[in-house]
Symmetry: C2
Subunit: 217 residues, 2 copies
Amino acid sequence: MNAKINRPTAERLSLYYHYLKEHISPAEATVSSQQIADIIKVDPTLVRKDMAAISLRGRPRAGFDIEQAKTRIREVLGFNTVHRTVLVGAGRLGSALAAYPEFRDYGLHILALFDTNPAKIGTFVGARMIYAMSELSNIVRSQNVEMGIITVPADTAQSVADQLVAAGVTGIWCFSATQIHTPANVVVRQEHLSAGLADILYRQAVKRHEQVEQVAE
Amino acid sequence: MNAKINRPTAERLSLYYHYLKEHISPAEATVSSQQIADIIKVDPTLVRKDMAAISLRGRPRAGFDIEQAKTRIREVLGFNTVHRTVLVGAGRLGSALAAYPEFRDYGLHILALFDTNPAKIGTFVGARMIYAMSELSNIVRSQNVEMGIITVPADTAQSVADQLVAAGVTGIWCFSATQIHTPANVVVRQEHLSAGLADILYRQAVKRHEQVEQVAE
């Protein structure tokens, strides 16, 4: 850790990284803050501020060196480290996440899946086997797993979180529609799909309202 | 539309709603801003500010009337309106989203799924049929579909977005790992799973670093 940044900055840096990786032609060596800002839809001043926070400074007219920026963001956000992970809940969402190709580039290695459904235990999602819950503690301990992804129904998410924490994980990424509680030494990120939905529905309603007002004028 | 709020406020209101729906016992009639703040992990002042923005004010000592708050948030965020939606990309993530039980309560009605895989066309995910892409335009127009959810691979997301926009949707919720471009009258929300991952990995790294520093002191 050699840069102190806040959570929104970390999230934006990951988007810049994604953009640098995906959208820049191999012929380009540099990118301007304006180009990044146009894609991510933020202010170019904010792009420069975020980059400066991790000691990246663009050259006048040319902008940021793309390879240097990618390397530095990977380093700061910890994408070069292998993050040993298990996923609990091998349903549709869990299987989709386990198969998500991008994660590997971020250092996320899902070693094993767990489920309570006897019909699933011993079967595979891609190259990963689905284990019984009774194996969770043993595998987390013996494989030095640091992170757990939870994709079980809301009413069992807390119990799964408790088992993961007891076995020693220090991070939980929870996709179940409930707020889980963990000791202060565990980092939790709760994904709220409904919050994304609320955002888009509200903005659509605002836009419709504006159009009605324009017609009325 | 009878309240002007910004996007972060809309997203937080949806989390308050979720909390009010899930965590409050039926015996309780009121909830304090402190109780909400503790669960969502924000400042109680912010909860009161968000609630005031949609004309909800708590009573001293008692707090907010729960039923009134739920009703008002639903009204402002448009959860009472039926949002006619199609989903393109009936893979694992698409099927998981189509089956997500929470969405219905937010007014999101997924009418049909679309895929390019001939083996999937004509089959069902829950009660919804998977159609061929050639039917997209016709179904969107004839069913007055306003929103499209995109869960196709990144390299085809823009083409799907173009087809949805041409057929008349006004909102796109994109889960593909790419930034799509649409006309200004279309509301787009891009979900970046990698940004969530970056956030949790970075916070874990910070925490480990702090612990190392404490040991070294």
